[in-house]
């Protein structure tokens, strides 16, 4: 339901990919309804191939919906990424030909920002993401996690009001993911932006979110949206709380059947045998 506090919303959104080279059309998503409140941290979990990334791309305006309506700040999202939306992708999207500094400054320079303003904001974003000592390095000289931080800084420097993250820590080890999650929570608190994060890690989803949306196997729909009840001031230490275990347990309970179904799709139905 749309309220005054609604920042972005999907209403009855469906995405079907057309048939291509030997494959029939793929009904990837929906119909999906989702309302993101201003300043909310929302995470999406679901089985592999359930349409999580498709949902993000539709919300970002990178992929058209076949049905339904997508809106951001009350305006319909159609065919282009709205001003004020920043996207961090799962893959390394840093520009290998630019230094960390130039990567982060890319969007501001394109927008024709004043050089002194660019300097100040880039310096702040780089410091915020802990990349100060690597400002003159090229992405190839950084670890995967640091490159992802470059991409987050490149998004952050533009001060988006809605930040969409598609499994940004997917390639990182568990400890680094927890620490990156802390950084992300700090960023969220300090910027006041609305955040939607796609992940396949239940613990990550449970730790970061105000609400977690659990999706079904393809075509992806929300089977439940779970409010975590965490305080705004939180960090990765909440994983030690008993409620955290109960929360991830509940999410797994929701997703187990869907994951088996998704595995069945992938293995041509052999997952049924596994279940037995």
């Amino acid at each position: 339901m749309l309220t005054n506090n609604t920042h972005a919303a999907l209403a009855g959104v469906t995405r079907v990919y057309p048939a291509a080279a030997g494959h029939g059309e793929v009904h990837a998503l929906g119909p999906v309804d989702l309302t993101l409140a201003r300043g909310e941290f929302f995470t999406v979990v679901g089985p592999s191939g359930c349409g999580k990334s498709t949902l993000l791309e539709v919300l970002a305006g990178l992929s058209p919906a076949n049905a339904g309506n997508t809106s951001f700040e009350g305006k319909t999202v159609e065919g282009r990424v709205p001003e004020g939306v920043g996207v961090v992708f799962q893959e390394d999207a840093s520009f290998p030909w630019l230094t960390v500094w130039d990567n982060v400054a890319f969007g501001l320079r394109r927008a024709g920002a004043d050089p002194a303003e660019v300097e100040r904001r880039v310096r702040d974003a780089i410091a915020f993401m802990g990349l100060k000592d690597f400002a003159r390095a090229y992405p190839a000289q950084l670890s995967g996690g640091m490159r992802q931080r470059v991409c987050i800084a490149r998004t952050l420097v533009l001060r988006p009001r809605l930040i969409l993250l598609d499994e940004p820590f997917g390639a990182l080890d568990a400890q680094t993911r927890l620490l990156m999650g802390d950084e992300l929570l700090r960023l969220w608190r300090e910027t006041g932006a609305t955040v939607l994060l796609i992940t396949h890690a239940l613990d990550e989803a449970a730790m970061l979110a105000d609400r977690v949306g659990a999706m079904s196997a393809r075509p992806g729909r929300f089977i439940d949206v779970v409010a975590t009840g965490w305080p705004r001031e939180r960090d990765s230490r909440i994983v030690a709380r008993p409620e955290f275990g109960a929360l991830t347990g509940r999410l797994w309970e929701l997703l187990r059947g869907e994951s088996i179904k998704a595995l069945g799709h992938a293995t041509g139905g052999r997952a049924d045998g596994m279940q037995a």
């Binding site: 990178l62 999207a93 394109r110």
Partner: protein, 257 residues
């Protein structure tokens, strides 16, 4: 010094040693008469002869003509090859139709067109430039296509997030992302252009380094012939080494990406 730098240095010494060794063996074989001076002159004499030729300025016009033809053919091949590559990349159906032709292109002996080109352009620089262009252009087309094919899709999504227009995306994202492949195309095009120009001058020119090498060969002027051959080899090696060093710097910065 890092282990990689040490290893690279050792390889450099080994490479230099092999070249110096080969030159020393050739020098010895020539000096001891095991190879007749009518067949091959000692490398030191080639170098001395080349020095004298360059000082005399006798072949300055030929050098200028050959380098002018290389520059013209290379510029045409790079610009036309790049434009064709970009066009074919944007038109997949046309590309699929042309793919077999591009794959078998280098099986065509371009020199069979030499009478036709002479009829069109006369005994001028025209046919030389056209043959060299034909040699180099497709390698540029193929490498442009390779480069554009390998641009990560996520980078074009980033361009859309930054609201970049197609031309802006092409120049700020696609071109730099494809640069290593374009550079490979350029490097190969330089080599193919030199081959095309020198070989064409052998048979369809009345001046230029290729013509002079053929002319001195026909007149048993071994000293001049070898001096000119050494000049061509040194020039091509220096140009390619320069490009190689540039490419290595570019790739090192990108960590091979």
């Amino acid at each position: 010094m890092s282990a990689a730098a040490c290893s690279s240095r050792r390889l450099g010494w080994l490479r230099t040693g092999l070249i110096v060794g080969a030159l020393a063996v050739t020098e010895t074989l020539c000096r001891t008469g095991l190879i007749s001076k009518q067949v091959l002159i000692p490398p030191t004499e080639m170098a001395a002869s080349l020095g004298a030729l360059l000082r005399s300025g006798k072949f300055n016009d030929d050098i200028a003509q050959t380098l002018g033809c290389v520059a013209a053919a290379l510029a045409l091949a790079v610009i036309f090859g790049f434009a064709c590559g970009v066009t074919l990349h944007a038109l997949p159906r046309l590309r699929r139709a042309l793919d077999p032709l591009l794959a078998t292109y280098y099986a065509v002996p371009f020199f069979v067109f030499y009478p036709v080109l002479i009829s069109f352009f006369g005994l001028s620089r025209g046919p030389v430039i056209v043959i060299a262009f034909l040699f180099a252009v497709v390698v540029m087309v193929i490498n442009t296509l390779n480069g554009l094919d390998r641009i990560p899709r996520v980078l074009t999504k980033v361009a859309r997030v930054h609201h970049m227009a197609p031309l802006d995306t092409a120049f700020r994202i696609k071109l730099p992302a494809a640069a290593p492949h374009l550079f490979t195309g350029l490097k190969l095009a330089v080599a193919y252009t030199f081959i095309g120009v020198i070989a064409s001058e052998f048979i369809m020119a009345s001046s230029g380094l290729g013509f002079q090498i053929a002319y001195t060969y026909n007149n048993f002027d071994n000293r001049t012939m070898y001096a000119l051959m050494l000049f061509v080899l040194a020039l091509v090696t220096i140009v390619n080494m320069g490009l190689h060093v540039w490419e290595q710097r570019l790739l090192a910065r990108r960590g091979g990406r």
